[in-house]
Structure formats: C-alpha cells, structure tokens
Symmetry: C2
Subunit: 136 residues, 2 copies
DNA sequence: GGTATATATTAGAATTAATCCAAATCTAAA
DNA sequence: TTTAGATTTGGATTAATTCTAATATATACC
C-alpha cells in the first residue's frame, strides 16, 4: 500500500503549515499510511527513527495538524487521545483489552454494528458525542 | 419533574450495591433528575450539601455505579468524563465553548443531527466509538 | 551580507483528572 | 463484645497534556 501522502512538504504547505524539519518528519510518520496513534506513540516512533524532537513539539504539531484539518482527534477514555490520519468520516472499534482502535467500515446502525465486530470481540459500549460550538 | 429514583437505598440494594450513607447521599445527587456531571461536580455538590465524603470515595462510587449499570460513562475529551444518570441509549451534544453536555433525542443520522442542534450552535465534530472487549 | 522580527523548538515545570495505597472506620454476624 | 470483611479516607502517585521562558531558526528589509 502506498503512503497516504507522497510529498509531506507539499502536503503541509497546501494546508498553510510552515514545513519545518520536525513537522515534515512527523508528517512522514503520520501520513505513511492510515493508522491510529497516540501522541506518545508518535513521539516514540520519531525517537526510534532517530528524529530529534521534543514531546512539546509533538503535541504542538499534532494540535496544529488537527486545527488545519489534516488529522482528526478521537477521544476514547479519560487519558487517551488517538490521532487518526484518515480524516474522512468513519467510525471505530476501541478494544479495551488491547488498547487499540480499528476502523469500522460502513455506516453506523444499531443492528449493523453487531455484524461488523472484529472477530472474537463483544460490545462493551457505544459512545456517540456530537461536539458543537456556539455559533460565531 | 419528580426524581428519577424515589428511594435511593432501594435503588442501590436492587442493583446489588451495599447502601452505605455516602453511597445513598451521592445517589441522592445523581438520581435527583437526569443530568450530566463530572466526578468533580459530584464532589462539589456533595460538599456544598454538607455531605462528608472524600474524592476517592466519589470516584470509587461512580465507578461502582457504572459497573453495576446505574450510570453510563461518556468520554468527551482527554480530561473530562461525564457520568450520566440516564442509562437508556441516547446521544449527546457536547458544547466545547460551555463545557456542557446535552441530550439529543431520537436516533443518530447524518442529516438528522443537523436538524436537532441546540439553538445557536454549529457542529464541530462527531465522535462514534464502539468499545469492544475480547470475547470471554 | 548583516540586522531585525517573527516563528518554531526545547527542557522541564506545572496542571489536572483519575487512581492507588495503607491506615482508619464501619457493619453485620457470631 | 469480638471478629472478619467491606468501606472510606487523605495523601501520594500516575499520566496525558499544557505552559513557560529561553534558545534557535528562518524570513524580510536595509
């Protein structure tokens, strides 16, 4: 499977993001393929690839990417936020045993969910939150 | 509107929860009416009503109530968990400006949501997470 | 080039929700 | 009572995230 984004520099510039070396390096990790990563996982991946970057910059960059629409935040519990490189609307399965998030393809429906469960899992709960903000 | 639960002691016992005084007092707050409260809000309400209870007990009790099916947890961001006294399946609007959660009645649907928005608000995002756990 | 100006990065401290812990307290039954 | 088990407690701890203030980097103007 080819990377979601071929040219990180180009991708960032088009989103109005100044393509610094750290941002390009993190983009390289995030947009390599569709995946779900926590800030800490991004930080560790960067470190293991020899990229010199601080935790603060990882958080700054992830927030910037979210703000600019390159990433989507998904809240699964009180202490974990995943950053999803797939920004198209879709739903997720969060496995509380594994601590991992997987995509559910198709549209949500009460009975549909039960037929699309990852093999060997059972539903623990469904959270639907529509986040709104006050108009202008 | 009458309280969701008339007799807290009875409600707890029926759920297999030992109805200690702290638990009855917290139940009195939580099941007074349908509402969305954070652990801290429950703690503050209890304090302002003169109930002698520790933070640890508030957390213990909320977790116990969730475990026993009296409350439902809803994750809206990385540092806030609301405890909902309405355990029937339903969806929510989370206002990021106000930091409050309100009910959306009816079933979720892409176009439906837009017609049920709280007055003066716009959609910021929709999070749907189906939490699963490994079978047995 | 050289200097000013704005932006980005950094390490470490601070914050905050939530949990953990070991000691103290309560309760029910014998 | 005595005892055993469950509950509550305050304070310490954890972990994700943000803040801060100093440093570094890049762009613009002369």
């Amino acid at each position: 499977m080819s990377p979601v984004v071929q040219d990180a520099r180009e991708h960032l510039s088009r989103a109005g993001i100044y393509p610094t070396s750290q941002r390009r390096a993190l983009a390289g990790i995030l947009f390599d393929r569709h995946q779900h990563l926590t800030a800490d996982q991004v930080f560790e991946k960067a470190r293991s690839k020899g990229i010199r970057v601080s935790r603060a910059t990882v958080y700054n960059t992830l927030n910037l990417f979210v703000e600019k629409g390159l990433l989507r935040e998904i809240f699964v519990n009180a202490t974990h936020t995943f950053y999803d490189s797939n920004i198209h609307p879709h739903f997720h399965f969060y496995n509380v045993d594994e601590g991992c998030l997987t995509d559910m393809d198709g549209r949500i429906a009460d009975d549909l969910i039960l037929h699309k469960l990852p093999h060997g899992t059972v539903v623990e709960g469904v959270d639907v939150v529509v986040r709104v903000r006050n108009h202008s």
